[in-house]
Subunit: 449 residues, 4 copies
């Protein structure tokens, strides 16, 4: 058993911390200390209370001492790993990200990655991330930092902008769902047992939530061509029906992967994220709520987000009553590999500064690719060469991300606006674009310049 | 006097040929033969009739023998210069370019450069251009080819795709209007006499009709910053009024340069083409006829185009009645410089394959920059480095142009569609985009594959 | 046990085939058929005779049927794997590579990779490799091709030039020795047990035999800085003594890694190949036999190569008398991983077309990096970013390799000469360079043009 | 007549200042003030004395007031133009550049541009240039700076490194000799009158003293192919004889252009500088004095340089006794064009930061190309695309120049050494290279770090 100290920043007000504890409890090769730090210290304390239950269950392999620490530097002291998963602000702040753009006709299905909502959320998050980076490099510079916070690209970039030597990686489970969808297709198409997620091996490239699979292998064969050919037709009416059912069931995260496969049909590569994410990077699907519904996608409502944020105790209770099971996240597998536990290695998605894994992206831009994780080492895999058409879509997003990152880090609104104006989801008229930008910044109450 | 043979391909049904003859007549250093070739041979004959009048006027310096030749190879024989200005007509074909996209809510202010209309026009024009290239290289491979045909980028590219060794250049007067507008501003702002067009010296970069001035000099000083600061506010209401007046007066080509200056404000560089052109390259101004009008721009109507094409005799008559005056085009100046007449050189806009004059564009892409013209030599000037934001806008256009060029030259609809789908003016939903594409190709009646 | 068919092309006249059989015999997860093809069919038959002994030993885990097949297409039929290790022999042909350049004062320590000798060997090898590629794609297009033939970069490139869809990879053990050297240093410096080779984890980048380690990890720590600091001084006299001892003992492949560490001192990255290879890529060590000796390196003599080629029966006998032990090569591990045996994966050096793993190399150039091998999949790892200085050295070599590859594939001597003239090892005067080139081509007896 | 103030920095101890005065006196469109500043104030005073003679001659058109000013800032005050031509003297310091490398077998034909001599001279010159840049931007930031000081690339780069907004350009007459040589060939080959220099129109690209002509036009035709074909054979013996004659006559700057044409033969482009310069950028011609002589080139000796530096009074006397004639430099033509005199423009060689005129060079690297000079404006012309082979040679030189520039500006010997080690002329063994470097730095007596 490798003995490690993990510090968890944030996660208190969501179930993320519980899931991490569950995965740690199920680990066969780790033990040590888990320190919870949250600006909502009460939430951290509640999670600590639950920890005894989790690590005490018979199916738990690992033993972890769980503690709450309200001082960040004390929490970080001696850490081998720092996991960051925060929300900037009470959930009500998401009003800015979601409801203000809606007044201008911009409906974002998620609103935490790109578009006006993503930009607004970045303005609120990046200074916090930069501050974490400084504390980590001052207190535990050798620790690996695993970031789960969105907007993923910007938050991970802020860590490196603030502290270029930080050992950080951004992680996201979005591609897992693409693997699972392809797994179900394999089961149905080839009449075989449902493959495990890892049996669908993808090559991906792009930026987080806007990645593309250039290849998908199952059982050593590339199945992408056959998948495209066999895709059944689904009418807009049927897809709208699916979307409305999802709304009724508050099943916001589900989709039919019809945006993902529309990319496959148009450009030859499969969108490798949920449709609600993919749709936010281009101007083609989010013209209206109805148009988005006609692709099978529901818009996650602001009101539901606020409501859910108030039901954490209920969620904790449900967690306690259920069996202990793997979260599906790969953070603990990464920690095992980085710790060198049992010599395990792990190939998973990583958001990292580009050193060539994405052959057309600027050097240093945070891109998503597979990474090979081993003892104290993460190295990106160069696996997917995108067609020029999709490179063009990605490049625009990277330019937008670059301007907005630079603008926020330098507290310079004019530079942020250059990125905002180029965002494909912002197809407002020139005058309306400026109005929206001003209204967002007024609501964000930044104190710049 | 340098003795040259010039072959004019097309131009019969418009006044272009008349303007060229006027400029030739006013030249102090050229003489020779002008051969008119047009598939509408009757139009060519009518122009020839006028030539006697033009070259016989007392203010005419040059003597040119004008002849009509209905066979292309015979017309080309012995040519030193070939001027190409064709319409892939009849003008009624522009119905495809303009009226079909309108059904889908895409209003193009010009429709001959980019967007669905530009693509459709390219499908009709490029095979003709490629055919000209083959004839020229077979008959008069040392001739300089001056192309005035739109879509400029694609038509010039087709010449080089068909015959990489061709000595061709694409010319456009669009930037002249930017110089003139700045000249008027200099007059008013500095209380001086109206500067001549050439006294406003620009640095430009981009693709034709979507170029940007990174600097504007007058009297040895950069005036762009002062120009931006001194720009008076004009309300959308006032601009709409201007646009409607222009419509009433059929004054389609005029504008207030408010799109051009909106780029200056957003991105720091001045759009260096008329607003009706600039607006077609981004999704921000052409949401509706009303939106475009609110920038002072009128949409050139299909119906007017057809009507004008029927009024050529009237136009010829008007030309005969007027004084002989320079057209404002620089084609004849270029011919003088290329012929080495009087050792003259000329710095003017040129559309040429990129060899670095545009530092971020792909090698070989047809880009617009200044060129230095001297005896048998055109060399591009590297003058304008665009900000990253505008590079991103330009790069997308170049990607679109690249796919559509390749698709048309290879008669491959799927490749054309990749470009069509990425065009910023095509912000249709994915399904509507396919519908429009199919309807356009049905109307184009191509016989591919 | 995964059942596979492996075809071995060449290897007859050396012990390579015996080593492969030994590794196969020791595999715990493979079985199947090994087909030996060699233009020296007698050598293949002798190897087959030995196979019964190898697979019959008690320590052998795997059962393989070994057969000899003199017809290439028959040998390839049904293959899952093709291993290529040929010499464009007879060995006497190496006279061209080694002895002719010596007349001009160019002493090559190896002469099979780069420099005049490497070029001459490439001229003899590449047509053969291209021919293999055509046969493989015609008979067993899904087979993985593992190339061990030098010049590695050129031979692997020829496979892809001839058949762009081929599933090929080039393998070389040269980096293993760097790991072993660092392992010995770790043992001595940290007073610990000798680490296993795989416990020294390198990041490498470059072209085969001219790769550089940008990082070297042991036990999760980067040891390169400490290694550089602790390196004891060794005088040229001592190193010369070492070299002469190696000559006396015919111990040609050994070295003191003083060229490798000279790069570390000059440019901050460790040469990750034997000194005899590294020295051939720059003009700094091979001025004379004496200069090379002063770095501890002996020149492998032509005469020894010829003698050894005649002593194959002796080598086979020695092999039979020894215990069956792993060869140290990783080919069989790669085959296991590619076959999906036990779900094993493997991280090893791979020579593959560049898709970004080498961020400054031209797309498609064969570069060496680590690769991650899994079921039917090899993906390069982007791990080492070289300093600009070393990028410059590598870029020159890639330019040389590009010209010579193109020249040989097109049978165009002028293009080969452009590469030959730029080779850093060829610092002959301009006139002497032409003389040597002509003499080499006369001896090569090509029938081009 | 445009009234301008020109400040001349340096030039006192050579005839440069006299030549500039002669060209000014012959100008038909300039008048004003010429201020001479030199750390050898006595030399400046002597030049001033001569000025009365020069501007008083009957053939002088322009009237200039000439003054000497020993304080730099006072000299710069109100300047429109600053001409810099200094020697980081006394000339005896060239012992370092020339005689120390010779001890190691490195014979430099010039030793003021690249190689160990160029590096040593750069170490002495760059701090001075940077200091000038700071003074200019403080006192006369709108002035155009025309640099004639070698090493041209480094000295011009230092101006921009120190003051990125400086309006500077580097000028060199080296390409003029290539035009003149081609002119003589045209005369002989086509049996015509000797063309004027400007009638030979080149396309050039590269770095100063290592530029290449990709095209050479005369009378509107490309003559490079015909020139290459018609080049008579010259034996090494004959060329050695020529070189020894030049030595005897102290005719150091003359050559047979056989290195220039050897590049043409090897790589298809004509070296566009004197052979004594070209030979210093590659390891192929300067193996020994004898080898260089066998190309017709003599080595300019250190002793002659020292002697000449002591004979300035003799040179001034000779100047006074001769007729006033144009120097052949184009500095005054550039000043006329920049001043907007008579609307003249000028196409001449310029050393400027790369913005694309050299399509493969790093952005901002000082490269030589043609430039178009007009009123207050210099814009580079993108005219020559070099073959990949020559790009590789140039790229190495740019890498060397980049490291050495960075090292000198930061006073960092290790970085200077990285460039020094990569210099193609430095093909010393690794140990000797370090020795030479240390000896040079000891002699340079820098006080760094």
């Amino acid at each position: 058993m490798e003995d490690v100290k993990i510090t968890y920043i944030g996660g208190g007000s969501q179930q993320w911390a519980l899931h991490l504890m569950a995965d740690l409890a199920l680990s066969k090769s780790l033990s040590g200390t888990l320190t919870l730090y949250d600006i909502d210290n009460e939430a951290a304390e509640k999670n600590k209370e639950i920890s005894a239950n989790i690590f005490g269950r018979p199916e738990a392999n690992a033993k972890f001492k769980v503690e709450v620490e309200p001082d960040l530097d004390t929490a970080l002291k001696g850490s081998d790993f720092v996991v960051i998963s925060i929300e900037p602000g009470p959930t009500e702040k998401r009003f800015i990200d979601l409801k203000i753009p809606e007044k201008y006709g911009i409906f974002q299905s998620v609103g935490d990655t790109i578009g006006p909502g993503g930009m607004a959320r970045a303005v609120r998050s990046l200074p916090v991330m930069a501050d974490f980076a400084h504390h980590i490099m001052a207190v535990c510079p050798d620790a690996w930092v695993i970031n789960y916070t969105n907007p993923m690209t910007w938050c991970t970039a802020a860590l490196f902008e603030a502290e270029p030597e930080i050992k950080a990686v951004g992680c996201c489970h979005e591609v897992f769902h693409t693997q699972e969808m392809l797994g179900r297709w394999v089961r149905d198409h080839y009449k075989v047992d449902l493959p495990k997620r890892h049996d669908i091996v993808l090559d991906i490239s792009g930026v987080n939530h806007f990645t593309f699979a250039t290849r998908a292998m199952w059982n050593g064969q590339d199945i992408l061509g056959e998948f495209e050919k066999s895709l059944p037709a689904l009418s807009p009416e049927q897809l709208t029906k699916n979307a409305l059912e999802r709304e009724a069931e508050e099943n916001w995260f589900d989709c039919d992967f019809r945006v993902a496969t529309d990319f496959l049909k148009r450009f030859g590569v499969l969108g490798a994220a949920g449709d609600r994410h993919l749709a936010e990077f281009v101007p083609w699907y989010l013209k209206s709520k109805e148009e988005l519904n006609s692709w099978g996608v529901a818009i996650t409502p602001y009101e539901w987000r606020v409501r859910r944020s108030k039901e954490q105790d209920k969620a904790r209770k449900a967690f306690l009553e259920a069996d202990l099971k793997p979260s599906g996240e790969e953070g603990v597998k990464m920690i095992e590999a980085l710790a060198g536990a049992d010599g395990a290695t792990c190939r998973t998605q990583c958001n990292l500064p580009n050193i060539g894994q994405n052959d057309f992206a600027p050097e240093g831009h945070i891109v998503e690719s597979y990474g090979l994780i081993s003892k104290n080492k993460i190295e990106p895999v160069a696996c997917g060469v995108l067609p020029e058409s999709v490179q063009s879509l990605e490049s625009r997003i990277m330019t937008v991300q670059g301007y907005i990152l630079e603008g926020i880090m330098n507290e310079d609104k004019a530079t942020v606006y250059e990125g905002f104006a180029l965002d494909p989801l912002n197809s407002l008229t020139s005058r309306k674009s400026e109005e929206l930008f001003d209204e967002l910044f007024e609501a964000l109450e930044v104190n710049w310049g």
